[in-house]
């Protein structure tokens, strides 16, 4: 067999025949990369683009690294590749439809955007006190399950990025258990739009608390296995300990919250500092560490999973105590008129409600039509609501001009803010440590770019 001629068509040809004047070309045929680089470009700086399509950048994060050998001398982030204008879109939908949009921001923690947005809307409406207790308990239960699911993805993908595939498969298997519960409640594994201004879309299905109780032991087992795999593993420890350090004053200056702040020793947690949805009535601890490195953040995330499960158990007891209680505010000007149930055809429908509005009450039909198409008016003003997101403090700034649509809805996503710490964490370290440091921030680009 003869080698193909040099000018024969190739599947992958060179980018261009002629790179143009001023662009040097180098040919390397084996040898040590260090020597080639020294011969070719001397002491000039090398800027390496990591991403936006790099498997370890959690989606489409672009890292611009200036490297000197294996040492990172400068690290910068480029974001915006996933910007979809969710905030702008929300200005063209009713307040209720807004949850459908904001749930898609941070897709690993969808219920937090919904909860923050709905709590903010309720502030503007002045109905914070009127939200029924059962609705708040369901919200807390869903949020805490979501926190565990999100942390499991963080730990799993973080392990995968270091080459530990078992950690990833374990994490995702455990997360699957939680997604099954979400599916039972909301019908969906993500993008739930389940929490609505005034309460939640639907009550939990019958037998749900038992389903959760049956699941908890296996979830605990999986989290325990993850801990066993990671925390005493010498390779894991040598990759994480002392890497990506960000001390307390650095965290405050850069506005870093969540597990990263707590790994630096401050027990700041919105659930304790500015409680919402009745978090002041739950018994749980806020784990902290003082090492301020990537390893401490893994320990904190695992510990937070256990704390969340503690809250989940308290929620289950409360759910059992309030069976049949309302899950939406009593005000018919705000509450969604229909209550869906799964029909014999497997589709969600609300036959009793349809019978009423089509058969007996014209006024109910008008009201239904007005509320669903026009939505409810929200008094003019602005409100700020934050919730403790798995990645830090999620802030929601909602502004109303008195209309039936948000005048402005701004989300202060914790990933967006926390990515500012990448340069501080990575500069001076090794290229391989960049992957670990970014994984310890756990950015989700859907939330960063919105």
């Amino acid at each position: 067999m003869t080698a193909p001629a040099h000018d024969a068509p190739h599947a992958t040809g060179p980018a261009a025949d002629d790179y143009g004047p001023g662009v040097a070309g180098f040919e390397a045929s084996g040898g040590d990369w260090d020597e080639i680089a020294r011969e070719a470009i001397g002491e000039e700086r090398i800027v390496v683009n990591m991403g936006p399509q790099h498997p370890s950048t959690h989606g489409v994060l672009r890292l611009m690294l200036e490297i000197d050998g294996e040492t990172v001398t400068e690290a910068r982030c480029g974001v915006g590749y996933l910007h979809t204008g969710i905030e702008k879109n929300m200005e063209y939908r009713t307040w209720t439809q807004g949850t459908t949009f904001c749930t898609r921001m941070d897709y690993l923690a969808p219920l937090y955007q919904e909860a923050g947005y709905c709590l903010g809307t309720e502030r503007l409406l002045g109905i914070t006190d009127d939200v029924p207790e059962r609705a708040s308990v369901i919200r807390v239960l869903m949020m805490e399950l979501n926190r565990v699911a999100s942390h499991l993805v963080c730990l799993g993908t973080g392990g995968n990025e270091m080459g530990a595939t078992t950690i990833m498969t374990l994490g995702f298997t455990a997360r699957e258990e939680i997604l099954r519960l979400f599916e039972a409640v909301t019908g969906l594994r993500m993008n739930h739009a389940f929490i609505r201004p005034g309460g939640v879309a639907q009550d939990v299905p019958e037998g749900f608390t038992d389903q959760v109780r049956d699941m908890l032991p296996s979830l605990r087992k999986y989290i325990g296995m993850l801990g066993d795999l990671m925390l005493a593993n010498p390779i894991f420890k040598s990759r994480l300990q002392g890497v990506g350090v960000l001390n307390l004053s650095g965290c405050f200056a850069l506005g870093i919250t969540g597990p990263v702040l707590r790994s630096a020793g401050h027990p700041y947690d919105v659930r304790k500092a500015f409680p919402y949805s009745g978090y002041e009535d739950y018994d749980f601890d806020v784990p902290t560490d003082t090492a301020a490195d990537c390893y401490a953040r893994v320990v904190i995330r695992i510990e937070e999973c256990y704390q969340s499960l503690r809250i989940v158990e308290q929620c289950l007891a409360r759910l059992d105590d309030t069976v049949g209680a309302p899950i939406m505010v009593a005000d018919k000007k705000i509450a969604w008129p229909a209550q869906l149930a799964v029909g014999s055809d497997g589709q969600g429908n609300s036959l009793d409600h349809i019978r009423q509005i089509m058969g007996t009450s014209m006024e109910a039909l008008i009201h239904h039509f007005k509320l669903v198409t026009e939505g409810f008016g929200v008094p003019a003003g602005q409100a700020w609501q934050t919730v403790e997101h798995p990645r830090g403090e999620l802030g929601v700034h909602v502004v109303s001009d008195g209309g039936t649509r948000p005048y402005r809805a701004h989300f202060r996503d914790p990933s967006f803010n926390n990515l500012q710490a990448v340069s501080v964490m990575c500069e001076g370290g090794q290229v391989a440590d960049v992957v670990v440091a970014v994984a310890s921030l756990d950015p989700v680009l859907g939330g960063v770019d919105r």
Partner: protein, 248 residues
């Protein structure tokens, strides 16, 4: 010069509420004949009005301390803070103090923003050490104060929060950068520049962050269209969201 005197006049009028828009009619019908009989109805929509003393809770103390610290720095409180607004989602009864969910908003004159931020961060009785970013709002009907930059500060030490609201006119969209006081605001100011076109003077690298570098316009402004195309479904055509009937 006239712009400056306008600002002074606004301040001398004392506590006023920001006018957001004029609403006409009753049912949000626009562009077609209104047969409801409510077509002549006009209402002025305003943001919550300025609060009067005593504010209640920790608000009086914090505002007093801020006035004192600003005075020490040579800035008159009345010049720096145009308006103090308190909103309470729990609607306390008459005579009752504000609830723990009440929000304090300081409308700050942009030329004194840095002095206010520095005082809020550094004084031991205020200690708002954590900034949770910048949000922009565009009020095209609020002439002379179209663009607002909104800062949310948290005092982890005292367990308090407040909001700074800084306005600037569309013709002169400049607000001083707060990155020297709160480095965390770096990306948030870039985002607000990107989406609203507010120029943060003194920012180390005020580049677009979400939109491509060569993008024309600032997408979150109210005069920037949402865009979209009509979608056909089962023979019917659904117009893009910004062309559908709107009620507000």
């Amino acid at each position: 010069m006239s712009e400056r005197s306008g600002e002074v006049e606004r301040r001398q009028q004392g506590p006023t509420a920001e006018v957001v828009r004029e609403r006409t009619g009753m049912f949000g019908v626009h562009g077609s004949g209104d047969t409801s009989g409510y077509g002549g109805l006009t209402r002025t929509v305003t943001m919550p009005a300025a609060a009067s003393r005593p504010y209640g809770s920790w608000f009086d103390e914090a505002v007093d301390v801020l006035a004192e610290v600003l005075g020490d720095a040579g800035v008159a409180f009345a010049d720096a803070v145009e308006r103090v607004v308190i909103t309470d989602p729990r609607r306390p009864a008459e005579g009752e103090g504000p609830s723990r969910d009440a929000e304090l908003t300081l409308y700050v004159a942009r030329e004194h923003l840095l002095a206010v931020c520095r005082a809020l961060r550094d004084d031991q009785d205020l200690r708002f050490e954590l900034s949770l970013g910048v949000s922009g709002v565009h009020y095209p009907d609020d002439v002379g104060r179209e663009l607002h930059a909104v800062y949310h500060l948290t005092s982890v030490t005292h367990g308090r929060r407040l909001r700074l609201d800084v306005a600037c006119p569309d013709e002169d969209p400049h607000v001083p950068s707060t990155t020297t006081v709160y480095p965390a605001n770096d990306w948030h100011e870039r985002e607000t520049w990107d989406f609203f076109g507010i120029v943060f003077d003194g920012h180390p690298a005020l580049a677009r962050i979400e939109m491509p570098d060569d993008w024309p316009g600032h997408p979150q402004r109210k005069d920037y269209p949402l865009g979209g195309i009509p979608v056909e479904y089962k023979g019917a055509t659904v117009p893009p969201p910004n062309q559908r009937r709107e009620y507000s």
